[in-house]
């Protein structure tokens, strides 16, 4: 149970930690106050508790597919906020848009990922014999996830500002495309769009069960057996992110490291 808890919580924390670390690093590169990013994380945490507390009612909505609808909306919000952020980051006058888009992205990511951790841990309140190992595993998983987030944060802020910004945009674009693929999967699961056959199967090379598969899932939205609609959505999201990111970054901000006048 300990190992299972580590993997489950790591997977959830990793997705949120990557988004938080990338946006925090972007804020650092662009010299934005950190409070603009910490506040939405806290708001997202509160909303995650509300969502997790009402998961039974949410699941029963719309003929039993309420969970899929809410998850699709959450993924959609992350995608919209991320795309707005990618598009605005090179505009010198768009500081407010960057802050709001980043805040929306952070809060939504926290709701999505933290709610599942709360549901998971809360489920073991009725199984006292397993609770301690679940908590220990969750703690370890969260620690590993945070560590990877910290690694990417310092990787981005440690680079030349222009390169750090580029790397963060590439990572956001890939995460965004993965979110689109996941949202499509939820809609297929709810039978709201056709669930056609799989396009390819790479599970023999990299299984989604494996640690590498889980890491790739969080980093680039890896899916071993995508459908044609998922692959199309993923590709279109990447193209849109690329087009938005192709414009020149905010040279006035990124060329001047923090503390240098």
């Amino acid at each position: 149970m300990l190992i299972n808890s580590v993997i489950i919580v790591l997977r959830e924390v990793l997705e949120a930690a990557l988004i938080v670390s990338i946006l925090l690093a972007q804020g650092q590169v662009l010299s934005l106050p950190r409070v603009y990013f910490m506040l939405p994380v806290m708001v997202g945490a509160v909303l995650a508790v509300v969502y997790a507390s009402n998961i039974v009612a949410v699941s029963a909505l719309m003929g039993g597919v309420g969970q899929e609808i809410v998850n699709t909306v959450l993924h959609g919000l992350i995608v919209i906020c991320t795309m707005v952020l990618i598009g605005a980051i090179k505009k010198p006058q768009a500081k407010l848009i960057i802050i709001f888009a980043g805040a929306g992205c952070l809060a939504t990511a926290m709701v999505r990922e933290l709610a599942e951790i709360i549901i998971y841990i809360n489920g073991f309140a009725s199984v006292p014999s397993l609770l301690s190992s679940v908590l220990a595993g969750s703690f370890i998983g969260a620690g590993i996830g945070f560590s990877i987030g910290v690694f990417f944060y310092y990787l981005i802020v440690g680079m030349r500002p222009i390169n750090g910004l580029r790397l963060s945009l590439v990572m956001l674009g890939l995460i965004c495309a993965g979110m689109v693929s996941q949202a499509i999967q939820f809609l297929m699961q709810a039978d709201l769009i056709p669930s056609n056959g799989i396009l390819w199967d790479t599970s023999a090379w990299v299984s989604e069960h494996s640690i590498i598969g889980q890491l790739l899932f969080a980093l680039v939205g890896y899916e071993a057996t995508p459908t044609a609609i998922q692959a199309t959505g993923y590709g279109l999201a990447l193209v849109l992110a690329f087009i938005l990111a192709m414009q020149k970054p905010r040279c006035d901000d990124v060329a001047r490291p923090k503390g240098v006048k």
Partner: protein
């Protein structure tokens, strides 16, 4: 416009009503039945009833499905149409015991 919406709703209802459904029970962190057989190229509605107090996540990498089923509640997952083969599924929260598979013929 209103007529079109009504027709679309009726067609949708008819589609769902005609769809075969299978109930899977989660009890003591086990799936009952743990083996399901469904027809190829057919969409199926899985009604997953969790009789345990703890939550479970119905998950299948092969089916591309994942859904949290809170304790003492039920959830619906649509699968298919699928090609013939065997598609494993498991409970992510209790993966050692909660295992099953769908055989598509």
């Amino acid at each position: 416009m209103r007529i079109l919406l009504v027709v679309a709703l009726l067609l949708s209802c008819g589609r769902v009503m005609a769809m075969p459904s299978i109930e899977i029970i989660i009890r003591n962190h086990l799936f009952y039945p743990s083996e399901l057989t469904i027809a190829a190229d057919t969409k199926v509605k899985l009604i997953i009833v969790n009789q345990d107090a703890s939550a479970e996540e119905f998950e299948s990498y092969e089916l591309n499905r994942e859904k949290v089923i809170p304790g003492h509640s039920k959830g619906i997952v649509f699968v298919g149409p699928l090609a013939p083969g065997t598609y494993p599924f498991f409970g992510e929260f209790f993966p050692k015991t909660a295992q099953g598979h769908i055989i598509v013929k």
